[in-house]
Amino acid sequence: MAMTINGTQAASRAGTRVSAREGRRWHGRALGLAYLAPVLIYLVAFYAYPLYRNVELSLRDYTVRSFVSGDAPFIGLDNFREVFSDPTFVPAVVHTAVFTVASITFQYVIGFALAIFFNRNFRLSATLRALFLVPWLLPLIVSASTWSWMLNSESGVVNSALGAFGVPQVNWLTSPTWSLVAVIIANIWIGIPFNLVILYSGLQNIPGDVLEVAALDGAGGWKTFRHITFPLLKPVSAIVLLLGFVYTLKVFDIIWIMTRGGPASSSTTLSTWSYQLGFGSLLPHFGAAAAVGNILIVVALFFGLLYIRYERDREAR
């Protein structure tokens, strides 16, 4: 399928004899595939196979025994039916939606604001911007554990600080009302660096003279932002939001370590539920876990299609 570079060069030389324009186009396309070869092999080997296995897991009735011996009977969509009729399903979907929308909104807004702030290039801005990425270096078990410690009902520093203002003890991780809020806060904290870096990069790509012209025309900060900066950053924003969405849907470690999806499934999302079914108890239920995982992938697919639609419309304009 993928031709070698030598092959395409030889082919292109032959092509020029046929028709200069046609040859160049063919050359370009085949060459394109050549550069794509590593990624394509990569995709097939590393993504297609696990995905196939996951779909297969969700369509069979796996017990621990048949998982090991590999001869589980095919049961079609029964696992999915079981998942849909489980009382945890609707709460998990709702929590996933709330968690994702809240996380992305705050991460994006705060990340954007910080990117604009750091764009002013004041003293120490480069160092401070680098320091903002430190939350990212930490293994998730450490960040999640640190937040757990800070949000502990009795010995957490957040409750002490709130207590100093007269706020009564908030059971961040152990109350069904607050558990989702607690994990959202931790997730926002972890997601800000990602948004900051990409949006900042995008801001850097705006040519300085565009902003100069705006300033010369007398446009103030907010006007410049609304009519120039934000529209110019629309494609970057779109990709940041989409990737943020995909990554947030996958978030599992933070919630699992902080609340295990509880208490009483009050912070269970589709991602944590999938893990819980598969690995969360002493007796794994792989079929259902895979089914929930596939549902997640389908949701992401749907939004991915929306993004492609948006891109197509944008390019058509």
Binding site: V64, V68, E154, N171, T174, P263, L282
Partner: protein, 418 residues
């Protein structure tokens, strides 16, 4: 121009070289596995003790047992909650280790999956081991592995704090007297009791003494006795005898709360004995009271040594030798002292008490303890346990009443149990 383009590349290569040197200088130190010197055949050994590296006594014992069986052992340590899944995954791919040391309630799951060889297949003699401890590894009349040690739960108390509050620990003999003691501690301005009520097997482990102490049975989660056990915990939270953090506490963090010195009682296990000696106050241990008096049956913790099925059954000979070596009375004494476990063999238990008389109440507790997967609950136990912890979490967090939570749990468990 040539230089500028090569510079980032050069930088990367240089960094890789540095990294290689730093990592390479200590290849032998990295990783928590060890290779013994003797023997040509290599046997793989998995255990849940990542805190023991290759310089530890445990690692050396494993290696020496390998040597005495004529093989070299490659040991890998995993996080205990991960080990089951790793074993299943490996077994699926035909790469199961030769020997595993794993938490006892999981043995029946692995046996049911056909992953483990039975003691009969291996020619392993299980008679020296205490029956109540070995029972956890029995499925359908066959034993799959032998215990390496047992631990169980009791109530540690802060002697100084109780004295100040006017509580006599000897008076705590049933639930009523315990509640009275907790009330007194609260009046004195401290927290009554702390424990681990987290939504994992650890929470179930801590709940079982109260559950069994109320006379409840795991096959009937919605009985009045079972509900009363959940209600006990809920009342403690409502009355402020226990801190809210119990919903998320592991046994370690519950212990840390106790260590801070403002808690009267903590439910914890034998493995804390070493830490107990370092407490900044006087402490004591009493058995967990049953509802109507007497000591409540506590669950057995501790690991089993088992052998996954291998295609080449000739390997079993050395495997059996290694297991026998690890669980020989002399080696058990050393191992169980290191792990702060009680030995599963009576003669060794007596030796442990002779060395350290403070172990006496623990030995009694272990003798009275029950396996979680005993009574042929086997693979039903994990299903029931998951529903049970969901129920007490719901009740304690106020999402449901104790009764409705347990009813839901029983329905779900009954539906999922085969």
């Amino acid at each position: 121009m040539f230089h500028t383009r090569l510079r980032p590349l050069g930088l990367t290569v240089a960094s890789l070289a540095v990294a290689c040197t730093v990592a390479g200088c200590s290849t032998s130190d990295a990783g928590s596995d060890s290779s013994a010197s003797g023997g040509d055949k290599q046997y793989t050994f998995w255990d849940p003790y990542p805190q023991f590296d290759e310089s530890s006594d445990w690692a050396k014992l494993v290696a020496s047992c390998g040597d005495s069986a004529g093989v070299s052992i490659k040991r890998t340590a995993y996080d205990t909650s991960d080990l089951t899944n790793k074993t299943l995954l490996a077994a699926q791919q035909g790469a199961a280790p030769d020997i595993i040391d794993i938490d006892n309630p999981v043995i029946s799951t692995l046996a049911d999956a056909g992953v483990l060889a039975s003691a009969d297949d291996l020619g392993l003699d299980t008679s020296p081991f205490a029956e109540n401890i070995t029972a956890a590894g029995v499925l359908d009349g066959k034993t799959y592995g032998v215990p390496i040690g047992a631990n169980t739960l009791a109530l540690y108390y802060n002697a100084d704090l109780l004295a100040d509050a006017g509580v006599d620990p000897a008076s705590v003999t049933d639930w009523d007297s315990l509640n009275a003691a907790l009330a007194k501690v609260k009046t004195a301005g401290a927290t009554g009791i702390t424990f681990s009520g987290i939504g994992t097997e650890e929470g179930s482990f801590q709940f079982l003494p109260w559950f069994w102490g109320a006379g409840a049975d795991l096959k009937e989660l919605d009985s009045a006795d079972a509900v009363s056990a959940v209600q006990l915990w809920v009342d403690w939270l409502d009355k402020g005898y226990a801190p809210n953090s119990v919903l998320n506490n592991t046994q370690t963090t519950a212990w840390q709360e106790f260590e801070a010195g403002k808690v009267g009682f903590v439910e914890n296990g034998t493995w804390q004995m070493g830490n107990a000696a370092k407490l900044g106050f006087k402490y004591g241990v009493i058995s967990i009271p049953a509802k109507d008096g007497g000591a409540a049956p506590a669950p057995t913790g501790g690991e089993f040594v088992a052998a996954p099925v291998q295609k080449d059954t000739d390997r079993y000979e050395a495997t059996t030798k290694i297991i026998n070596c690890l669980t020989s009375p002399d080696n058990l004494l050393t191992t169980d002292t290191t792990l702060s476990y009680i030995a599963p063999i009576t003669s060794v238990q007596q030796q442990q008490v002779a060395k350290d008389p403070s172990l006496e109440p623990w030995v009694t507790a272990v003798d009275d303890a029950k396996g979680r997967t005993s009574d042929n609950l086997g693979t039903d136990y994990p299903i029931i346990s998951e529903q049970m912890w969901g129920a007490f979490q719901s009740a304690m967090s106020g999402s449901a009443s104790a009764e409705s939570a347990m009813t839901t749990a029983q329905e779900a468990a009954a539906a999922k149990v085969k």
